[in-house]
Subunit: 203 residues, 2 copies
DNA sequence: GTCTATAACTCGATAGAC
DNA sequence: GTCTATCGAGTTATAGAC
């Protein structure tokens, strides 16, 4: 664990800004709160990052960089379908366990600026579902799995990986569980989700 | 379809406020925007609803009233498990299709004030999962379905119903589909989700 | 009930000293 | 690089006329 005092001013700002933006969103965050949390003053924030928007952009890019590239890589990789499902759900739940508040943060901002991201998220690459969709179609045609719409299967998989974190406080309320129990459940999901999916589509 | 002119001032405000708050959140919403959309002026907003916070609370309560009671009712009803799964997923997806932006809105605010809701959402009732959990356990013991943690099964079901709407713009980007295609897909999910779940747990 | 005008305040941003 | 002080835009909220 790195102590605050060991961080450069810029790093302290980034750590503080991440927390404040992720908790409150762009419009809900206050530069004063970020400054306080970084133990500096507002003027210095502007010295390092010209404006609130610029600082936000840095934090947001950092967040998407954690959440999206992995999807692309695994979806497009060249391994058998069931392995792919197991690997994706395992790795993705693991990522999100370490960053439980990022999905809600990112989805919020995408919601507020949908068009602004069509390019940003995937650059000039194909959106990453095509290869996986094709693979699923192929398995169905070969009669190896039950017929299912690839799009729905992918949405189901993503839903089960991500939603528990987006709805974390609600789930904790409804199920009446604390942080540790929640974390344990999420650890189980690393393997449970794939089992659940494969049981559904295997012939 | 009711026309704006036929609504009372209070109703016009509520319609406008709902749209603005749901799209922008509490901190992102502007009273001026609400006034413009309701075709009145700011002063009148305060005449009807003392403050921004008070107005927000009304909208928020309306939103939770749409999303939560249904869960409670179906989860606790006295019908066979598979019927319950079919009914819940069908009805819930239907509700959310008609209010696609409510889940993200509500989850956001719960995230910002987790403790404030422990009472608010369910009052003095038991959180509604107990009865469904017990029912699932029983079916497993009777050997009618495959062993699975009730909590995970419920989370999976909720995830597949709700997440596509929380992640709507992202899904539209990733899958490259427009509003109509999205709506069609969600219509399919009214029955698809139950099929998917039951295929996974049926013996 | 509804309006115009404005007070009161919050907050991002800058000037300027050190 | 870092600070204090302050400006100015934008917002919530109120006063007061009709």
């Amino acid at each position: 664990m790195v102590k605050k005092k060991d961080l450069s001013t810029e790093e302290k700002i980034l750590v503080a800004a991440k927390k404040v933006f992720v908790e409150n969103g762009l419009s809900g965050a206050r530069m004063q709160d970020i400054a306080d949390k970084a133990e500096i003053n507002k003027a210095l924030l502007h010295y390092y990052f010209k404006s609130k928007e610029k600082l936000f952009e840095v934090i947001f890019k950092e967040a998407t960089a954690k959440l999206f590239p992995k999807i692309n890589t695994i979806f497009s990789s060249d391994i058998p379908l069931f392995d792919k499902i197991r690997q994706f759900t395992h790795d993705y739940v693991e990522i999100v366990i370490e960053n439980p508040y990022l999905p809600l943060f990112v989805l919020n901002e995408i919601n507020k600026q949908p068009h602004a991201f069509s390019q940003k998220l995937f650059g000039n690459d194909q959106p990453p579902v095509h290869k996986l969709s094709a693979q699923i179609e192929k398995e169905i045609k070969k009669g190896l799995i039950k017929p299912i719409s690839p799009a729905h299967l992918i949405i189901n998989m993503l839903s089960m990986c991500v939603f528990p974190f987006v709805g974390k406080p609600m789930i904790q309320l409804v199920m009446n569980i604390d942080e540790i129990q929640f974390r344990n459940m999420m650890e189980q999901r690393k393997t449970m989700i794939a089992d659940f999916i494969i049981a559904s589509i295997k012939k």
